[in-house]
């Protein structure tokens, strides 16, 4: 069982201009004193099609972590726009927060991110070359997708015994096209609602 449970992630400064840094306030609980630091990363998915455009915005060590409930704010700069395919700049993408312990990822928290022009004019007729100064980033904070991985928490040389990939609600993903204004398709998450846009 995981020694570290993420209790909450609050998305701060949201929605915000595209170039603002990401800020996540992460609350987690640790069952016992960890001899090593946790490593957190923010990964911005530049394009859904390929991992090639993924950007690790920042990684940070968090420690020391004794048993207890802790919180910290993870701030990372906005993605390098030069690395984002122009066709993917506007629209829905994903930002991931991962946490690893001893080099093993045990939790992955994903958020849909909607990048949109605030100006209705631009929204109607988006420029061919994206204008990042006009883009607004909106993280769908109400709908985090949490994936937990079973890792080996002990220092032993033993390999992970069970690296089963577990997704809490594999069928509940929202097709991003149906987002604006629409009620989410009622999969397994009837009490979730999209409260943004």
């Amino acid at each position: 069982m995981a020694k570290v449970q993420v209790l909450n992630v609050a998305v701060l400064d949201n929605p915000s201009p595209f170039r603002n840094p990401f800020q996540f306030e992460i609350t987690f609980e640790c069952m016992e004193d960890l001899p090593e630091d946790l490593e957190w990363k923010i990964i911005y998915v530049g394009s859904a099609e390929s991992e090639e455009y993924d950007q690790v915005l920042d990684s940070v060590l968090v420690g020391p972590v004794p048993a207890g409930r802790h919180m910290f704010v993870f701030q990372a700069d906005a993605p390098n726009t030069g690395l984002i395919p122009e066709s993917d700049a506007v629209g829905v993408t994903v930002v991931l927060i991962t946490c690893t312990y001893r080099g093993q990822e045990f939790i992955r928290i994903g958020y849909y991110v909607n990048n949109e022009y605030t100006d209705p004019e631009l929204r109607e007729n988006p420029p061919v070359k994206p204008d990042y100064t006009q883009l607004q980033r909106n993280i769908l904070a109400s709908n985090p997708r949490v994936t937990r991985f079973h890792i080996n928490w002990e220092a032993t040389m033993e390999k992970m015994e069970d690296s089963e990939n577990v997704d809490p609600a594999p069928n509940a993903m929202l097709p991003p096209t149906s987002m604006p204004g629409k009620a989410p398709p009622l999969g397994l998450m009837p009490d979730n609602s999209m409260d943004c846009l």
Binding site: R69, L96, T177
Partner: protein, 968 residues
């Protein structure tokens, strides 16, 4: 009878495999399948019991849910004291849960449910041993043991007072073990398995009492569970699925002779679960009728695959009630309320039902005293403690019980105060942050949080501790607060105690057990290999499903998959490569085979310890001194130093008149022969054989030295007590208080040194010989230069005023004598200042409050080897408490770290340990650069010192430190 199906008790439609009502009746737990994992949910009982509470929105229904089990939960059981909840699942784990009283409500982050957990239950222990799905768990009476059974065909008995200690693994079933029940008297445990047998095991020696097969010969392994049950009076055991004339039954087995003459008949399909009412009843007295003494009887609920439930009274021939079509699928578990009038049933269809009986229907429940009277009638006076009140009147037969009683009295009040109810405890978040509200903290968290850079330039954030968890609360202290059953000392596996307990055991009419330690280690070492292929398949299939959904390349799906894919392919990520998804089946198999050797290791080390305990016990008195020496050679602290009597055998009585022997250190006793390894290399051995021959009345002893085939020996006129050697010299202390020193070639260096008192410890290192006498006097000689470095220096300064004894002593390569005491302090003698210097203290708060980990670079993260590390322990617990200080000002911690590092430096210096000095200097320098304003001069001054003492001489210390500074 009233019947209710509370629809709000569900696992979102997923099956519920187990249900158990808390002993205080205020809540109940369900276990089963969650969204993607196993799920344990704790529910409030009040809305089930009362309609108005169900409608009242202020009364929470769900108290807590736990998704920690990786796979379906098959069983949940509350401990009898209500403090713990045990759960077992398909992930082969048993988890023990305890309520965390001071942490506020929270949700499971990212889960679909937005309901807050009203109560916080934390997993305090994970019990790993089973190699297959855990099907049933059961707490023994008084929570002394926890038993779990599994599809790996075994039953594991865990010591509930010392988790995760395993008392015994019961082997004998040849099929999946699917149900467990303890004898309420505590004498037996019964198990039922797919191998068409029901086995009863004795708790005295954990051997098989009886194996019942006849009623099960026609049974097929068609049920998910086989939850059997023992009647509260202990007289009857009722099995799950049995067959009689090809009809499904629940077999009644009589305790007396294990007779199987009766059964509960009527269910159309296999019986999955039987559960006795915890109460014993007697006939309700009708008004006016003459009070006729009627025989007390029991009540039993039977659930079946045919989806119906029957409730029986042992006084009636027909069932009291049969309820058909209560569920859409098989009944999985039944639980009674402690008052015996309520009953919860759960089903595979994911629903539960509540039955509420009246006393008219069931009868008058006997109170605890009456129940006890029945027990005493049947089993005699000296029966296990069944009640608190009885405990005080029980004659205390052994010290363990006395201790328990004292503990119990001490614990009673806090226990009562902890009474668990939905309203009497509104858990509060204890903020360690002086009066600041959480909201205020959150506002400024980004600005306030401490961020540093590590040695390799990475960001490191010290998280803000907003609530502490008392990790110690599941240590033996709390598990201790359970009664001691006769024979329960077997669980601690100390043979002597069992024999001392045999008086109790005999009066119980139990056979005194044969030595369990001889059988247990070997038996547990074996493991079944055919561990649950079913589990393997299901897991395999599951990951396959996930894979197919993830490998689509459609754009939208591609996005989705990003949530679940591992970051292994991402730049800059160093996660361990996984074989996920390629051959899931193989992977799971692999993992189980990886797990197995671990289990073996554990048990083997366990058995080693046991042997150790035994041998110590056996050797006590005559040979214990030698044991001490051997331990010392291995550099292990001696724990039993305090309790050890001073051995008097080896020396003549005149010693006792020695006036200076105020302080006494134990001396080793004389052994016929022994051998030691010369510490510095692995190939040199010293062998001593006393009394090899007797020549004209004097006994000759032989010292033999050997290194890779070369050897020499020397004869000595007196028996040898201690021998020690280094690569250069060999020293032996004899019974006649002489000390002889030889070179490594066997040449006698000096004539025998006469010591005033016998030797307690002797060490050699390089050309140095260190002698610690029984009168606590220390001498160190340089035998090459023939000088004394330390002359008969008393340990009085460090020993006086404490009741500590010397736990370890050694001599460094540079001839510095180091003495560790049992109070965790370590001293060395500085021969130039002629002082004792404290170099390590395990209780030092500075050590525990430092945080310099981010200054330890990768290459020296492994730590340094040397005398300092030896005394402080390789795993220096530095920084363990650092967190506790997260609320204290950063500069305070900085100061503490600085002070600690300074201390390390000076200690390394006084020990003349160059490599360690260098190690700590580097950390010190990095810390200064990272955290404090650079004070290059102070580092450089120290650099000079390094130059002075390093063996690998740094030509220009200045440049060394400056370059170090630049490195950082």
């Amino acid at each position: 009878m009233k019947l209710l199906k509370p629809s709000w008790v569900n696992h979102n439609g997923k099956p519920i495999f187990s249900v158990d009502i808390h002993p205080d009746g205020t809540k109940f737990a369900t276990g089963g399948q969650g969204e993607d994992s196993g799920k344990v949910v704790i529910w409030n009982m009040a809305p089930v019991l009362r309609e108005e509470d169900e409608r009242n929105e202020n009364i929470p229904k769900l108290l807590c849910q736990m998704d920690n089990h990786l796979a379906c939960v098959n069983c949940v059981r509350w401990s009898n004291n209500g403090l713990y909840l045990a759960s077992g699942g398909d992930d082969k784990l048993v988890m023990v849960w305890k309520r965390a009283a001071f942490i506020g409500p929270s949700t499971v982050f990212g889960s679909s449910s937005k309901l807050a957990n009203v109560e916080q239950w934390r997993c305090v222990m994970i019990l790993r041993n089973h190699t297959g799905d855990v099907m049933d768990v059961a707490w023994s009476p008084h929570d002394v043991w926890l038993a779990s059974c599994s599809v790996d065909n075994t039953i594991v008995i865990w010591n509930a007072r010392k988790f995760p200690e395993i008392v015994m693994t019961l082997k004998g079933h040849t099929g999946l073990v699917k149900g467990l029940t303890w004898d309420p008297v505590g004498k037996y445990i019964a198990s039922q398995a797919d191998d068409r047998s029901l086995k009863v095991w004795r708790t005295m020696d954990w051997q098989l009492e009886t194996n019942i097969t006849k009623p099960f010969s026609e049974c097929g392994g068609t049920t998910h569970v086989l939850r059997l049950s023992w009647s509260p009076d202990g007289q009857y055991l009722v099995s799950a699925h049995a067959m009689n004339n090809s009809g499904p039954t629940a077999q009644i087995i009589e305790r007396d002779g294990w007779k199987t003459n009766m059964d509960f008949v009527g269910h159309r399909k296999a019986v999955t679960v039987v559960k006795f009412n915890p109460k014993i009843f007697k006939k309700k007295q009708k008004n006016g009728s003459t009070p006729k003494p009627s025989c007390p009887y029991c009540c039993c609920a039977v659930g079946s695959k045919d989806r119906s439930l029957s409730v029986w009274l042992t006084s009636l021939k027909r069932p009291l009630v049969v309820i058909h079509d209560l569920f859409d699928k098989s009944i999985m578990d039944i639980t009674w309320t402690l008052n015996g009038l309520g009953l919860l049933v759960c089903s595979m269809d994911g629903t539960v039902a509540f039955l509420d009986f009246s006393q008219d229907e069931l009868g008058d429940p006997l109170n605890e005293e009456e129940k006890n009277a029945i027990h005493q009638n049947i089993y005699g006076k000296s029966l296990a403690i069944t009640m608190e009140s009885q405990l005080s009147s029980t004659i205390i037969e052994n010290p363990e019980m006395l201790k328990y009683q004292q503990e119990r009295q001490g614990n009673q009040n806090p226990n009562e105060a902890q009474g668990i109810g939905p309203e009497n405890q509104t858990p509060k978040l204890t903020n360690v942050l002086n009066g600041e509200s959480l909201e205020d903290i959150r506002k400024n968290l980004l600005k306030k949080q401490v961020e540093t850079r590590t040695a390799d330039g990475r960001r490191r954030i010290t998280p803000l501790c907003i609530a502490q968890l008392d990790t110690a609360d599941f240590l033996p202290a709390l598990f201790n607060s359970v009664p001691i059953l006769p024979g329960s000392s077997a669980s601690t596996q100390l043979t002597p105690q069992i024999s001392s307990d045999s008086s109790t055991a005999n009066s119980l009419g139990l056979r005194p057990s044969h030595d369990p330690t001889t059988t247990s280690p070997n038996k547990t070492a074996e493991d079944n290999k055919d561990s649950g292929t079913a589990a393997v398949n299901s897991i395999g299939m599951k990951s396959n499903l996930l894979l197919t959904s993830a490998s689509k390349i459609e754009p939208m799906k591609a996005l989705d998959s990003r949530f679940t894919e591992r970051s292994k392919a991402m730049p800059g990520v160093t996660s361990v490569p996984l074989t996920i998804g390629i051959t899931p089946l193989d992977r799971v198999k692999d993992s189980s085979s990886v797990k197995e050797p671990k289990g073996k290791d554990e048990t083997s080390s366990d058995s080693e310890d046991k042997i150790m305990v035994k041998s110590i016990a056996k050797r006590k008195g005559e040979m214990e001194g030698a044991e001490v020496v051997e331990k010392r050679k291995k550099g292990r602290p001696r724990k039993d130093a305090k309790t050890m009597p001073f051995p008097q055998t080896p020396v003549e009585p005149s010693r006792l008149t020695t006036p200076i022997a105020v302080l006494k250190l134990p001396t080793p006793s004389i052994q016929k022969s022994f051998s030691t390894q010369v510490s510095t290399d692995g190939v040199t051995y010293l062998e001593v054989e006393n009394e090899v021959s007797v020549v004209s009345g004097s006994r000759l002893s032989q010292l033999k030295w050997s290194r890779e085939g070369r050897e020499w020996d020397v004869l000595l006129p007196s028996r040898i007590i201690i021998a020690a050697g280094s690569s250069n010299v060999v020293a032996v202390a004899c019974e006649d208080r002489t000390l002889s020193v030889f070179t490594a070639c066997g040449r006698r260096l000096i004539p025998s040194i006469i010591l005033p008192v016998p030797m307690s410890a002797l060490h050699c290192s390089g050309h140095f010989v260190m002698a610690l006498t029984a009168s606590a006097m220390l001498s160190v000689w340089d035998v090459q230069k023939q000088t004394a470095l330390v002359k008969n220096e008393s340990l009085n300064p460090i020993l006086s005023g404490t009741d500590a004894t010397v736990s370890q002593s050694f001599l460094t390569q540079q001839g510095v004598a180091v003495v560790s005491l049992s109070n965790g302090k370590t001293y060395c003698f500085n021969s130039s200042l002629e002082t004792w210097n404290l170099i390590a203290d395990k209780q030092d708060s500075l050590v525990q409050c430092t945080d310099f980990r981010n200054c330890v670079s990768a290459q020296d993260a492994l730590g340094s080897m040397g005398p300092l590390a030896l005394t402080q322990g390789r795993n220096l617990s530095a920084g363990r408490l650092a967190s506790r200080l997260s609320s204290t000002p950063h500069h305070l911690q900085q100061g503490m770290t600085l002070a600690f590092l300074e201390k390390q430096l000076s200690s390394a210096l006084i020990l003349l340990s160059a490599s360690e000095y260098r190690h700590w200097l580097l950390i010190y320098a990095r810390f200064l650069v990272n955290e404090v304003e650079v004070n290059e001069r102070s580092i450089c001054q120290r650099g000079n010192l390094t130059g002075d003492l390093t063996t690998e001489k740094l030509s220009r210390p200045e440049s060394f430190t400056i370059s170090t500074c630049r490195q950082i």
